[in-house]
Symmetry: C2
Subunit: 394 residues, 2 copies
């Protein structure tokens, strides 16, 4: 796993920050921390460094009864109706909220039984989020789709890591904005894969105390899937849909982000990936900003066509107890990845984020058998082999 990916990304439902999905139901979180991006330019900057432990204050969240039109501060919301001339912040927020709606609609339509339960929350000074969870549906065991907008303050080290400042002068803490969508979908049928996706956008203010130092921005995210059994046509369809989204923007994106995904979702102590990958990227700022906004939108909009046809094909496949036990063992791996490695989850647990939002990414149930080894050549063995030795699927 490259240190870049290990320290800068999250597959938890809290999207951006562990603290982004809190509600008034949880205990007050008066102080929290910024999970720094790790940059090769500043390899000493990581979550365990002493700088990373310096807390920044964040307002307590308020539970809302209605969804507001926007979670942006008024000063940011340059148009009441986001248009092509609106700020990137406003258009990104609109994009993730539309994506949340369309994914949830598609899930409910296929599920036929389950309905999403929604929690809306905001912070007095701006920012907030919408958490939606469907549990014990007909098709999905547990499905969470969250969006959030956060205004916070990050230590100067994070700013400097993001882009080498034009000066050696050290700025003070930098206000930042972040917005994102994050989702984990665990179906019941062991032949139907789990899906995770997460797209996020960051902006910092320009440091006031360093004349000429720029505002910074970057995009991150990805979509990956985790079947318990390989249907080659499903894997090809999933990866092809990701590649198609990437290829519209840059032919290098898919191969780069496919590898990045394999590297990030690596369970080091098992020497296995948690699943069959997809795409993953972070810290993207060395392309045109409008192009990357369109790319992130394209990726988010590719979730339904990449995933739903596979679910429709597999949701009613007959299965044995053995198939279910294997799915449960693989879900044990999912739990291991999320609790041990995922930066958003581990950071969230340590810094007092809303636990139920953070851990909604965990499956409804999981299993650990001592020294379980699938029989060589079996379908279970084939899946494990593909998790140990990532393949090129298309």
């Amino acid at each position: 796993m490259s240190p870049t990916t290990a320290l800068s990304t999250s597959s938890s439902l809290t999207t951006l920050f562990p603290f982004s999905s809190s509600t008034t139901k949880s205990k007050p979180t008066n102080f929290t921390q910024f999970p720094f991006r790790f940059s090769p330019k500043n390899p000493t900057l990581n979550l365990t460094s002493s700088t990373a432990r310096s807390a920044v204050s964040i307002e307590k969240e308020v539970l809302e009864t209605e969804r507001p039109d926007t979670f942006l501060r008024e000063s940011d919301d340059d148009d009441k109706e986001p248009s092509s001339t609106s700020s990137v912040r406003a258009r990104f927020e609109k994009m993730i909220r539309d994506a949340q709606d369309s994914v949830c609609q598609a899930i409910e339509a296929v599920d036929g039984g389950g309905k999403f339960k929604e929690d809306v929350w905001s912070r007095p000074g701006g920012g907030g989020g919408i958490s939606r969870v469907l549990q014990d549906g007909a098709v999905w065991e547990k499905a969470g789709v969250n969006v959030s907008v956060v205004y916070g303050v990050m230590p100067p080290e994070a700013y400097r890591a993001a882009k080498a400042a034009a000066t050696d002068q050290k700025p003070g803490p930098i206000p930042f904005f972040a917005a994102g969508i994050s989702s984990v979908l665990h179906p019941k049928n062991p032949f139907a894969p789990t899906l995770h996706f997460n797209y996020r956008y960051f902006e910092t203010d320009a440091p006031k105390d360093i004349p000429g130092a720029p505002r910074q921005w970057w995009f991150g995210g990805g979509t990956d899937f985790t079947p318990a059994y390989i249907f080659e046509e499903d894997v090809k369809h999933f990866h092809s849909t990701q590649k198609k989204a990437c290829d519209k923007f840059d032919p290098t994106f898919y191969p780069r982000f496919k590898k990045w995904c394999d590297d990030y979702f690596y369970i080091k102590h098992r020497n296995e990936r948690r699943g069959l990958g997809g795409i993953f990227f972070d810290d993207l700022n060395d392309y045109d900003q409008e192009m990357l906004l369109s790319f992130a939108s394209e990726c988010a909009n590719s979730v339904v066509p990449a995933y739903i046809p596979i679910i429709e094909k597999r949701k009613d496949t007959p299965f044995t107890e053995q198939n279910k036990a294997w799915q449960q063992l693989r879900r044990g791996r999912y739990v291991e990845f999320n609790l041990v490695y995922d930066r958003g989850t581990t950071f969230g647990l340590k810094t007092g984020g809303r636990i139920e939002s953070i851990l909604v990414s965990l499956p409804l149930s999981a299993r650990w058998e001592y020294d379980h080894k699938p029989e060589e050549g079996s379908e279970e063995w084939k899946l494990l082999d593909a998790c140990i030795n990532p393949k090129e699927w298309i």
Copy 2:
């Protein structure tokens, strides 16, 4: 949670060190690390400090077909038959191996169906272990009882933290010896509690490069239990047995070690303990060494009388699906504690210990429901309340 307990102890089956239960089945582990004891005398010494990351080499383990009489080096084994005049090392090893036998015999006798599977391993230069796992028995879902003996080298900081050296001169790396027993027992019936116990003994050599600096030693361990439902008579019986063992040695032991246990098995992100506690201690060296050896033996010998009568009473209690689901949710908490907080587990996963030995402490299955809240006043609520607000049971 006090930092002392957080950083110095382990509830994983690897007892002492993450690397203590490896076998040749696993990948070679040529380098590993010493999970330092944390001492208030040296609060900067912890697992994430840069000193703690310095690797020390350890030999690869060899799978054995038979149990040797001892895992001690010949030079340590001052008597072929350990007696009251043998070294503490030899007597501690004998004690934990006897305890392993008697606990496994008691488990098999009550289970009636399941049998322990045994793995024996050693290291050419001395040390080794015996891992025993019973899976899918009639009464226990998963039961692991491991003993191990380790010879290693620890950085000087760990020695100095153990007892302030009489000199400011910094010694080189210090050879150490450690032996321990560790066990987690997960029954099937939701009214039958999970048990964990772990007793360990450490010795360092005297630093050769500092004339007069002493050899050091200390004891650690504990026994705690984790029911899904409270039967007050069971909790009282369990704690009384612990208190009785403690009171034979020092009337301050039970209250001190009961609190230490509540502090250690704390799931910070939930503000809950994982269960109803028991006793826990570490770094004990400020009593007579013979007395502490007897105390550790007494504690290990109290496991069967503390636990088995409760299992016999509860193993066949009729239960509903709802009871089972609640047990599974509590097992989810067990997984969270072990993967997120337990020092032995988290350290083992990061440093290449034998994964199957480390993770045999995880339950066969576990469950996570979004925002599950037991109804106030229900039996489930009472258990949760006792995990949030530790009680004095006797």
